[in-house]
């Protein structure tokens, strides 16, 4: 079974044999995040405000990692020493 959610806070658990072998192992969790676009959605047409908006969205990765790490820590037996 493979479940993948897209979005700014997407987080997936992949338990298929293929995925275990090629990507996410039993000690890894997968996360997909794109910081999206702004305004007209054109890569080369943006205002200064939209410049800052996209970079601000890119900064979201910091919080995404920190939050997921905190949640993963609740079940990570190695980290918790359980």
């Amino acid at each position: 079974m493979s479940t993948t959610m897209h979005g700014p806070t997407a987080f997936s658990t992949n338990s298929s044999k293929k995925a275990r072998g090629l990507c996410a192992t039993s000690t890894e969790r997968r996360c997909i995040t794109n910081c999206g676009t702004t305004g007209t959605s054109a890569a080369d047409q943006f205002t200064p405000a939209e410049w800052y908006e996209l970079l601000f969205k890119a900064n979201h990765m910091e919080q995404l990692i920190t939050n997921h790490w905190q949640i993963m820590g609740e079940v990570d037996k190695i980290r918790t020493g359980a």
């Binding site: 997936s12 996360c31 910081c35």
Partner: protein, 155 residues
């Protein structure tokens, strides 16, 4: 247990001048390059938490590093960021604190300098992203405690 960031990057719409068979293809700009720098610095700062992180995608797609069509081939601004940040590879991530006033003129999207640092033997690699759309931001690197003598700084 570590985190795999399957796919990251800006996701703009397909550029109308590009054959629609190239799914989500567009021409990345300097703005997308800074997205790369901010994100790669974030990964560096959390190197203890991340097992793998993959930009989406490599060619003719989302956040691409290279564009190709027929006999034509070119690298994008995103590629140049990866080229610069390659010096972090194989290094040990060390704590970096970047302190600066808000560089963003937008109160809605507060931003400031961000960066990361890594170490290999006696050589430190420091990368910093200035999000300011127009102006340069003066920056002075320092080391505390003074493990490194910053005799030679390449910016």
């Amino acid at each position: 247990m570590k985190l795999v960031v399957d796919e990251w990057g800006a996701r703009h719409h397909t550029d109308p001048s590009i054959d629609p068979s190239y799914l989500w293809a567009y021409f990345p700009t300097l703005r997308d390059a800074l997205v790369s720098g901010i994100t790669l610095d974030t990964f560096n700062r959390h190197a203890d938490k991340i097992a793998m992180a993959n930009a989406a995608e490599l060619i003719n797609n989302i956040h691409s590093s290279v564009l190709a069509a027929g006999d034509w081939f070119t690298v994008t601004p995103v590629y140049h960021v990866f080229d610069m940040y390659a010096a972090h590879q194989g290094n040990k991530s060390i704590r970096a604190i970047v302190s600066a006033p808000s560089a963003s003129r937008s109160s809605q999207y507060p931003l400031t300098l961000s960066g990361s640092c890594s170490l290999r033997e006696k050589r430190a690699m420091l990368t910093v992203v200035n999000p300011e759309v127009e102006n340069a931001t003066p920056a002075t690197p320092s080391s505390t405690p003074r493990r490194f003598s910053l005799r030679r700084v390449i910016i």
